[in-house]
């Protein structure tokens, strides 16, 4: 795998002789366009995610988010210009409409969307840290420790997190967002562990690691200064994939009515909407807008992941 990263790093040098006739400025510009990180998918995905974060940050400044907790408008009012079943037309007081108790949907989104991202990122960060630690330990030390970690991750990867978490939530009831993230993190360390272990095993025999070992570098130095930088694209990819898994699990719990009860989340809004028969009453803005926002979030994460794939694997780039 490190061969591909070496190849991508070496590409500008090998291309240089063909461009002997070009000026230095032109060469620099070409090399800039060859920068794998300037990937359209990566940029588009990051833009989508940043716009959700911006909605959460700016919304708190410019919109009255207390409307999340109290029904302040007419119930079941449509977005601006949309007529509901009782013939009321939506107004700018509630641009995205209201739910069955008159809560403002826009305020629900402003508070709920960052909450979903927060759970995903926190759970994934904890899972990644565990995965890096266990993966390096397993791959680098080998032997009995490796066996235990390998079997452990093999076992845990087949257990769907949602089902264990359902048991947890059914037993304990209400939990906080952070607690939910920590619980999800207990189930997302396996794939980074496996990935890093496999990479470390293959890297351990490579020339530069042997070289470092011969020149007397400590294990810590080899692991974190020699090996870890080569893993960065994979770690990013794995991190983003885990954010997606964590958000899917969190939304799943919320849609089953098991998420945090006192904090507005997108999944909770969908749960309320389904339970109040929003589909039959044609209140599409109530469930549809949170669904669309979640879809944007997942598409953004997918695009980032596809972009990262192309960054780390140049063979995919020509497609």
């Amino acid at each position: 795998m490190n061969q591909t990263t070496e190849k991508s790093a070496a590409a500008p040098e090998t291309a240089a002789p063909d461009m002997a006739g070009l000026s230095r400025a032109q060469l620099r510009r070409m090399r800039r366009f060859d920068n794998p990180w300037r990937n359209p998918k990566l940029i588009l995905g990051a833009t989508l995610l940043l716009s959700i974060i911006a909605l959460g940050l700016l919304g708190r400044l410019f919109w009255d988010v207390d409307m999340v907790f109290t029904g302040s408008g007419l119930p079941r009012q449509g977005p601006v210009g949309v007529e509901n079943l009782r013939g009321q037309v939506g107004t700018w007081a509630h641009p995205l409409g209201t739910d069955v108790t008159g809560k403002d949907i826009l305020a629900l989104l402003i508070i709920g969307a960052p909450n979903s991202l927060y759970v995903g990122v926190l759970a994934s960060l904890i899972g990644m840290s565990l995965g890096i630690f266990l993966g390096f330990t397993a791959g680098y030390t080998g032997g009995r420790v490796d066996d235990v970690i390998r079997v452990g991750s093999d076992v845990m990867i087949t257990i769907p997190p949602l089902l264990i978490l359902v048991v947890v939530q059914a037993a304990y009831g209400d939990i906080t967002l952070t607690m939910m993230a920590i619980l999800i993190a207990c189930f997302v360390w396996q794939s980074p562990t496996r990935l890093i272990r496999a990479q470390v095993l293959s890297m351990r025999e490579s020339g530069y690691v042997q070289m470092a070992r011969l020149s007397g570098a400590s294990s810590g130095h080899i692991m974190f200064r020699e090996m870890l930088p080569n893993l960065v694209p994979y770690l990013f990819g794995s991190f983003i994939a885990n954010v997606t898994t964590s958000i899917v699990t969190a939304v799943g719990l919320e849609v089953l009515g098991l998420g945090p009860q006192r904090v507005p989340t997108l999944g909770r809004v969908i749960y309320d909407a389904i339970n109040s028969g929003a589909l039959i009453q044609n209140l599409w803005w109530w469930w549809g807008i949170p669904t669309a926002l979640l879809a944007v979030m997942f598409i953004g994460l997918l695009l980032i992941n596809l972009g990262l794939d192309e960054v780390s694997n140049p063979r995919l780039r020509r497609l």
């Binding site: 079997v151 769907p160 048991v167 039959i280 979640l294 598409i299 596809l306 995919l316």
Partner: protein
């Protein structure tokens, strides 16, 4: 048969047994966690729920008051085995779980959990198998077409665009499909496994009704999962495209379609089967939620209903059975794989 080495088999079997054991232990331990004295010292504020007490509470809530509550409580404690040590309770639980005996449901009282799961399981398995087969074929074919040089340009542009849906969890696609095809266009029924007017049985009417009602739940899973296979297939096809035998087949002047099916897809599809093992957990979890919104009477609906009624034996039984199904299918995939792909030799 001699192709699978014994050590490989033992390894896979150990993983299977450990998975089932750990899942069973977690499911037992989680509700009882606050009841151990050392936990209460470490985490203040967690309350230990006594199942007998809770059952009595439900009785009182249903009937207004309960006479002879102390005697009933003692009786319930003996019935549930709560008067024994945790160690004994745990061993009894493990022994019962292995025999798929999860006790009696508390919400629909005299029915055993195993009976309820027995009704729900065929629906879940049927829906899962059908959507899995469709998604596997569609996904791999589209993934292969993304790489094939003779794919029409329109398709090459359309497939990546369709992939955008793949990151969405099936519950969201389910909601969208439900809105478009049953409340707006009214092509498909909104919910339920079959029409209320049809008598269940081995008749054509019943079968067609079941199929008709299954279209939307299956589609909502297919729409969001085919991209996973397509992406994996694309990566594998790129590798196969560069192989010498593909170049040779082209040089021989074989028909391009023949090369695609017999030379490229056949070689690229096999590793896809192993990634199935890694993905099945998420597929199962997604289907649980799809069943809940379509009121499909499978394990997901059973789980949701038991959460609403706080029916812990059912919650635990359903969770355990789904985890066991997942672990078993991973085990089977691992066992079958060396037979269908002779390139793989384990332990050799």
């Amino acid at each position: 048969m001699g192709r699978i080495p014994l050590s490989y088999l033992a390894n896979r079997l150990l993983t299977l047994v450990l998975t089932v054991f750990i899942a069973a232990t977690l499911i037992w331990l989680i509700p009882r966690f606050p009841c151990f004295s050392w936990v209460q010292v470490l985490f203040q504020g967690l309350t230990c729920v006594d199942p007998a007490d809770a059952a009595l509470g439900r009785m009182a809530a249903g009937g207004g008051s309960v006479a002879d509550s102390d005697a009933i409580l003692a009786q319930l404690r003996t019935t549930y085995g709560l008067d024994q040590s945790y160690f004994t309770q745990y061993w009894l639980y493990l022994a019962n779980t292995l025999r798929l005996d999860f006790g009696l449901s508390t919400a629909s009282f005299p029915t055993s959990v195993a009976t309820m799961i027995g009704y729900a399981l065929p629906w879940t398995l049927g829906l899962m198998l059908i959507s899995l087969v469709i998604t596997f074929f569609v996904g791999n074919l589209l993934g292969a077409l993304m790489v094939w040089e003779r794919t029409p340009r329109l398709w090459k542009a359309a497939i990546p665009a369709a992939m955008v849906f793949t990151s969405i969890p099936p519950i969201l696609s389910g909601l969208l499909l439900m809105y478009v095809f049953s409340t707006q266009l009214r092509w498909f029924p909104l919910s339920g496994p079959y029409a209320l007017t049809v008598e269940p049985g081995w008749t054509f009417d019943f079968a067609s009704s079941v199929l008709y009602h299954g279209v939307l739940p299956a589609m909502s899973i297919v729409v969001v999962t085919f991209g996973f296979w397509a992406l994996g297939m694309r990566g594998l096809m790129i590798t196969v495209q560069g192989e010498d035998y593909t170049t040779l087949a082209k040089a021989k002047g074989l028909r391009p379609r023949y090369i695609l099916y017999r030379y490229m897809i056949r070689n690229a599809i096999l590793p896809q089967i192993t990634s199935f093992a890694l993905k099945i957990g998420l597929l199962v979890a997604g289907q649980v939620l799809v069943e809940r919104i379509f009121a499909y009477p499978g394990m997901g609906k059973l789980l949701y209903d038991s959460i609403l009624t706080q029916d812990y034996p059912v919650i635990q039984g359903v969770s355990f059975v789904i985890i066991m199904m997942t672990a078993l299918s991973v085990f089977l995939v691992d066992l079958i794989y060396p037979f269908i792909d002779p390139r793989i030799r384990h332990g050799g």
